[in-house]
């Protein structure tokens, strides 16, 4: 019996041993691959960075998330972009002029090639812009042109249906792709991403940009390599970066992200958790950089439905009454959120438009009412809800700085005036469809800007048919005014109308603004970075010593 057992043991150990040996042989056999991807040559300058939100879809027209665009524009150039001082800078478009009321003539940069060597021409511009306006494109409401026509290889005409002074700035997030590349990979037509197709464009992209997208491993790592032939290196000396390779790692867990920076696993973290900023600041090898972002965080509620989806009030919608909205706003303690949730890294707001955007009204923004619980309760009672009511608040938990915490804090504040809120906290991928799909009663949103004009907000959020008008705001006078603003060429008249709409927003309490976001990034001392207020930063601005 013992001999039998011994034999079996010997057999098993031998098998294990053989497995190990063969494993090692395999590994040894692929030494060549090892040098290729495991290591990085000593002389290479590698910029390693991390953030919470990665680009989950590299198809530029599949999503309208500025965090995704920030990635995409490293690889695919824009026609125009903004400098750090928010001035327009010609990129693939060298000049533009309005030939008449409905036509913009745009001249394109010559001698630019895509990463695969093919030339960049007007065909690619026509293709890129038209695809952006495809019915299935999430970017379609961002641009107000009706057609794009090729005039010659380096000239296009963009057709609008009326005078549109903000057309060119609105293109500051429209990346240019290669028509041939899309044709080659069979993704000319926008895939209906929900229909179960895994499109090549989700994890691959090619453009004319400063960096080549080498590899995408979603949830793990994205690697960019320098494009040595990038046209920008000659044209814009300020974009003369010294990076050879950029490695991005998404780290959703706050504590892990900060630990990575502290442990020198990464050189730069775009969004360290606020409570750890002091720690980063105190570290002798690290530094902080901050910029007020062009983004305002606010709560919004559905004002059209006759009965809310998630409330105990039947037969009527409390949010339709301005007194209810006002009461909810009076319950919001801006100071408490500013101090306790944001650690004073925010600009409390009274209007949902940030400073720096044309149309911003400082006097309106500074008139934040002090929190007043008793007055709020009185208003609620006056509106017919002396005992308050219940409702669900939808919030993302991975998009804005401390988004979930802000919502939680507000839940506590609303409880004080009798409104019992159920908090539904989800990933932005689930949260945003609730807004665009109109399945939410009450939600948190942070609206950012590509065009530095308030028309962006008006178009996207105040017009009845716009996907992002989750509140279903439908005020005919406002809609009509917005239409006029879009066509008005006289700046004074335009600004006057804008002011009127802003006053309506405040007086009718259409939204519950919280604050204008401030972005603070943490990085090693040897990193020089340009933090853009619209968060469309460039690797090409980065230098590492």
């Amino acid at each position: 019996m013992k001999t039998g057992k011994k034999f079996v043991f010997r057999l098993i150990f031998m098998l294990l041993f053989l497995m190990c040996i063969s494993g090692l042989l395999y590994a040894g056999g692929s030494q060549e691959e090892k040098t290729e991807s495991a290591g990085v040559e000593e002389s290479e300058t590698v910029f390693r960075w991390a953030s919470k939100t990665e680009c989950t879809n590299w198809d530029p027209h599949a999503t309208n998330v500025s965090a995704h665009q920030a990635f995409q524009l490293q690889v695919m150039d824009l026609l125009v972009d903004y400098t750090a001082e928010l001035k327009l800078r010609p990129m693939l478009a060298t000049s533009w002029k309005a030939v008449n009321d409905t036509t913009w003539e745009v001249k394109l940069r010559e001698g630019v090639t895509f990463h695969d060597g093919s030339p960049f021409t007007a065909d690619d511009v026509v293709f890129s812009l038209k695809r952006a306006k495809d019915p299935l494109s999430e970017m379609k409401s961002s641009y107000a042109f009706t057609d794009v026509v090729k005039i010659d290889d380096y000239t296009v005409n963009i057709i609008t249906d009326g005078p549109n002074p903000t057309l060119i700035p609105s293109l500051t997030n429209a990346v240019m792709v290669s028509k041939k590349w899309f044709e080659k990979h069979g993704i000319v037509d926008l895939p209906d991403y929900k229909s179960g197709l895994e499109s090549y464009a989700v994890t691959h992209a090619m453009g004319t940009g400063a960096f080549i997208l080498e590899s995408v491993e979603p949830g793990v790592k994205t690697v960019f390599v320098k494009n040595p032939n990038w046209w920008g290196l000659d044209v814009y000396p300020e974009l003369n970066h010294n990076l050879d390779r950029v490695i991005y790692t998404p780290i959703t867990n706050d504590a892990t992200r900060v630990a990575a920076l502290l442990a020198d696993e990464v050189d730069f973290v775009l969004d360290p958790p606020i409570q750890d900023l002091a720690r980063i600041d105190n570290d002798p090898d690290l530094k902080l950089m901050q910029v007020p972002e062009l983004r305002t965080i606010f709560f919004a509620m559905n004002q059209k439905r006759d009965e809310l989806l998630s409330s105990n009030i039947k037969g009527k919608n409390p949010f339709q009454d301005v007194r209810v909205r006002r009461a909810m706003y009076l319950a919001m303690d801006h100071e408490a959120i500013h101090k306790a949730v944001m650690e004073e890294l925010s600009f409390p707001a009274n209007i949902p438009i940030p400073p720096g955007i044309n149309g911003y009204a400082k006097d309106l923004d500074e008139a934040i009412p002090e929190a007043n619980i008793s007055r709020a309760k009185a208003l609620l009672a006056e509106a017919g809800y002396p005992d308050g009511f219940e409702v669900t608040l939808d919030t993302p938990n991975d998009r804005y700085i401390n988004d979930e915490k802000i919502s939680q804090a507000y839940v506590g504040m609303l409880a004080k005036i009798g409104i019992k809120v159920n908090l539904d906290s989800q990933s932005k991928a689930l949260h945003f469809p609730k807004i665009t799909g109109r399945t939410t009663d009450f939600y948190l949103l942070g609206w950012g800007y590509s065009v530095l004009d308030v028309i962006n907000f008006f178009q996207s959020i105040l017009l009845p048919d716009s996907p992002w008008n989750g509140s279903d705001i439908d005020i005919p006078e406002v809609t009509e005014k917005i239409g006029r603003i879009q066509r008005e060429l006289d700046n004074d008249a335009r600004d006057r109308m804008i002011r009127e709409v802003m006053e309506t927003i405040v007086n009718d309490q259409l939204f519950l603004p919280v604050h204008h976001q401030i972005v603070v990034a943490g990085m090693r001392n040897n990193v020089s970075f340009v933090l853009m207020p619209n968060m469309l930063f460039r690797f090409a601005d980065v230098r590492m010593d």
Partner: protein, 305 residues
């Protein structure tokens, strides 16, 4: 001389063993203390951490009283919503214990019923249920709990989730642990089945259900109690794990595991009390239950007497 009930209890061998083991006295006292503070939490603390209307955001992230910046109003400090840590440990233990006891109870009800039926009746019923138990035992119970929990969450999407979360967890953990009770009960039942008193009951045509539940059951509860005690520790840990992963109890009415998760974000920035105190509470609770369970197993094991 007539004795009071309590004197009867003191006289038992069980209590004698209990007295002799200081470790177990400490452990069981701790458990009783935790249960007591969980049950009577509203009386023991002026804070109401589950009522958002009572919270002040400006109080958030206050350190414990012995650290600079702390105050005696919030003995162990506050979390990021301004909730007193000591109070929320008490209220959170409530939830952890409710889920723990609930799931053990559920597992016992299912397991013991099946075990009795299986062991007493025998035949194909026995084979069927034991196969079922075997099948489930191929999976680690935490995985089953994870799967049931995630599937149930999908079924109950939306804010209904908050209220239903406790029940989902009790269900998930209960389902994942019933086989051990079934097996234990079954072998016990099979042993008892052969004994004379059962044969006698059968002869006088006592209802089989009565035989199972009134005659056999009391005699096999011993080992089940041991399983239950250790099972309670396991259930508390599984619930804490699921909550920590974000698929358990939500943060509006947190359990100890959820609290640890919330506090984890603040650990590295120096606000250690939000995660450490609940973690210590959890560990002490589980350790005490384990010690008690181990001791029970030794005491009730006739072989070691």
């Amino acid at each position: 001389m007539k004795k009071f009930l309590i004197e009867h209890i003191i006289d038992t061998d069980f209590f004698y063993q209990y007295r002799r083991s200081p470790r177990v006295i400490v452990a069981s006292s701790i458990i009783l203390l935790i249960i007591f503070s969980a049950v009577f939490a509203p009386l023991l603390t002026p804070h109401r951490p589950f009522d958002p209307a009572t919270l002040e955001l400006m109080d958030s992230r206050t350190p414990p009283f012995f650290q600079e910046g702390g105050s005696t109003t919030f003995l162990l400090g506050t979390d990021d919503q301004g909730r007193d840590v000591l109070a929320i440990i008490m209220y959170g233990s409530r939830i952890s214990l409710i889920v723990g006891f609930g799931s053990v109870l559920l597992a016992m009800v299912i397991g013991i019923s099946i075990g009795l039926l299986s062991g007493y009746t025998g035949g194909w019923i026995d084979s069927f249920f034991m196969r079922l138990a075997d099948i489930q035992l191929t999976f680690p119970s935490i995985l089953i709990a994870l799967l049931v929990d995630s599937i149930a969450r999908v079924l109950f999407t939306g804010s209904a989730q908050d209220e239903v979360a406790i029940f989902i967890l009790i269900l998930a953990i209960g389902i994942s642990t019933w086989p051990q009770y079934a097996r234990m009960t079954r072998s016990g039942a099979m042993v008892e089945k052969g004994k004379d008193y059962i044969a006698a009951a059968r002869i006088i045509k006592v209802n089989p259900r009565k035989i199972m539940f009134r005659h056999i059951l009391p005699n096999i509860m011993g080992p089940n109690l041991v399983l239950a005690t250790l099972g309670l520790a396991g259930a508390v840990i599984v619930e804490a794990t699921l909550s920590f992963l974000g698929i358990g109890i939500p943060p509006t009415t947190p359990s100890l595991g959820t609290l640890i998760r919330i506090g984890n974000d603040y650990l590295f920035s120096g606000e250690w009390w939000i995660t450490i105190f609940p973690a210590v509470a959890l560990v002490i609770l589980v350790l005490s239950i384990n010690i008690l369970g181990d001791w029970l197993r030794d005491v009730l094991n006739p072989k070691l007497q």
